[in-house]
Each structure stands twice: as structure tokens, then as C-alpha cells.
Amino acid sequence: MDIPYTVAPRQDTGLYNAKVGIWLFLASEVMLFGALFSSYILLRVGAEPGMWPHGLLNIPIGTFNTAVLITSSVTVVLSWAALKTHNFGRFRAIQSITLLCALGFLGIKTYEYNEKFTHYEVWFADGRPSVTGHIDGAGRFWTLNTLADKKIESITMHPDRFHYRIPSGEQAKLAKSGTVPEHPEPIKIATSEIKRLSAFVPAHSTYFAVYFTLTFLHALHVFGGALVIGYLWGPGASMWKTDPDRFTNRIEVSGLFWHFVDLVWIFLFPVLYLL
């Protein structure tokens, strides 16, 4: 049985069915991310003045990842244009760059996540200001319970240059003044002095709960999109021989999803990394 309107447009909509379908799906995605963004706005505005963290994410890496995703967006549309000129070889070559970009993006995100899972904050029992940094010999996700389980009596911490509560503008001024050493001296902290120990994980704070929720959901979209693009690049490409117009439409539809994923990142990047 032939499925109608996979290539020819319907008279009432003027579009082939898959295109209407993907736009309806993207509309639901706008509402999904919109709800999360509005939650972020509420949480951010509701935070006590000066409490929202600054400078906790690696901006050069985030910028590079943004460029990777933008590159993948242009290669997707160029591969579709190659099919429009019936150049299947060019399509495959360009779309392989898209797949490499998708893998690159996810690889870099994994690296960033891992960095956070081994980055710690220590809150002191006597109420003095908390310290952030890396702990000698610590693995991922350590807490005060981990120290107790491992019978660790003290930890050596390599503090960050600046605490995240110092606004980025002030951090830059302090860095310029040269009054704060680039690599502060390591400090030894007795376990008995620690009130709370947390890696930069969702449980650390509202900021990281928001960061991981939004970026992980986005990464899942990248993964899903890459799976579809990979299928159409590999086994699914056999349709090109039997029904090239329908195959071209499939590439267009998968491309529309991919561009949406890029669009979401265009807003996520400045909101989470820069503001």
C-alpha cells in the first residue's frame, strides 16, 4: 500500500504530510523548552541578590561547542541542497561532517560534565565562607558520607581563584589588579571542620539543577537527531535509489529537527554560560 502525500503536497495544506508533522512536533518542543526557560527565569529572579553563581562554566569550551553545533546546522542544510541537485556523493560527504559535529558536541559536553563531577565546594561547620576547588585524590560525586565511609580524616583542596558569588566583572578587575594569585595555595581541611561537601552536581544548588536539566535534555535531543541522521546516512540511504524525492524530503524533515536543536542552544549558551 502506498502512503499518500510523502512527496506530493496535499491540496488543503500545500505541504507533504511529514513536513506538517515535524512542525507540529517542533511546536510541542517549543512549549517544552519554553516551560523550562520560564522556570529558570522564576528561579533566577527569586534568588537572593548576589547569590547566583558566576564563572562556573568553561566559556572557551562552551563557545567552541556552539561553533560546532552551528557548523553542523549549515552542513545539514548543504547536504539537503546537494540532494536537490541530485548529487548523492556530495550529500554523503557533507552529512558525515554533521555526524562528526554531533559526536564532537556530545564528547565535549561529556568532558564538561566530568569536570563538574570532580569539582567541589566545602561548607564549614564554623560558618566561615565556603571554598570551591579540586580535592587531591577525589573521584566523582564525593560527599561528607564518602569521607566517613573511606575514613578520611582530612582533605587537601586546591581552591579556585575566585568564588562563584563574586560577579564576573569584579573577578576581571581583581584578576587585573594582580592581588589574587593565579593558583592559590592548597589548603588542608579536617573532615571534622566540614559541614557539607558537594561536587558540582544537580544536588549542589538550584543553578546546577537548572544547568544539568536543560543541557542534558538538549544533549538527548542532539543524540536523537544524530541517530536519525546517522540512519539516513547509512542504511536508510537505500531509499535514494528507489524514491529519491521522498528521501530528499526525509533529509529536509530531519534537518528541520536538527536546526531546532541548534536554535535551543543559541539561547541556552548565553543564558547559562554568560549571564
Binding site: 519554553g34 563557545t63 552551528i70
Partner: protein
């Protein structure tokens, strides 16, 4: 088969948009290091640049500049509900959940 002249013109357009997106990203990041006088201005400029980039992606890569009415209809209703959602946030302006950043508070 599509007119190869038309396609090459379209491809040129895609490349221009690609470069514009990279430039937009560079400006946004540059702004972070320049440190504008106020947070409000930083937010406004960042959201403006992101919106221009979003327009370029949606308009050219997703071909929204030259689409059928049906798609505009779907997007119009989405925009209506999206704006409504954001209005709910603004509506709650006097009823924000307080102390939402718990970083320094030990539960």
C-alpha cells in the same frame, strides 16, 4: 531537477548565514569579557543577539522566510501559547519563590 543556478545562489546564502552566526557568537562572548555597565544591558544585548541568530536559523536554514501558510498558522498558535506562558511568569512577579539559590545553605 532543481535549477543549479538557484541552488548555488541558495548555498551562497547559507554560507553567509553561517558566517553571521559565528560572528554573532563571537560578539556575545566578547561582550562577556568587555563587561557592560549594567546587568540589565548585558541581558538585553545577549537576548537581542540570540534572537537575531534564531531568526537567521529559522528564516534561512529552516526556510521560514518562504513557507506555506499552514506552517505560519502552526507557529502563530505556538507563539500565542509561548507568550502566554511567559506572561504567566511575569504575572507571578510579586509571588516569586524566595531563596531559590540554596548553594550556601546547608539543608
Amino acid at each position: 531537477m532543481a535549477d543549479s543556478h538557484d541552488i548555488s545562489k541558495t548555498v551562497r546564502k547559507y554560507i553567509i548565514v553561517f558566517v553571521a552566526l559565528l560572528v554573532g557568537t563571537a560578539i556575545t562572548v566578547g561582550m562577556y569579557y568587555v563587561h557592560l555597565p549594567s546587568v540589565a544591558m548585558t541581558v538585553m544585548v545577549a537576548v537581542f543577539i540570540a534572537s537575531v541568530k534564531a531568526f537567521l536559523v529559522a528564516g534561512y536554514f529552516m526556510h521560514l522566510i518562504d513557507e506555506r501558510k499552514m506552517i505560519y498558522g502552526i507557529l502563530g498558535s505556538t507563539a500565542f501559547f509561548f507568550v502566554g506562558l511567559m506572561f504567566l511568569t511575569i504575572w507571578a512577579m510579586h509571588d516569586f519563590p524566595a531563596h531559590t539559590f540554596l548553594g550556601s545553605h546547608v539543608p
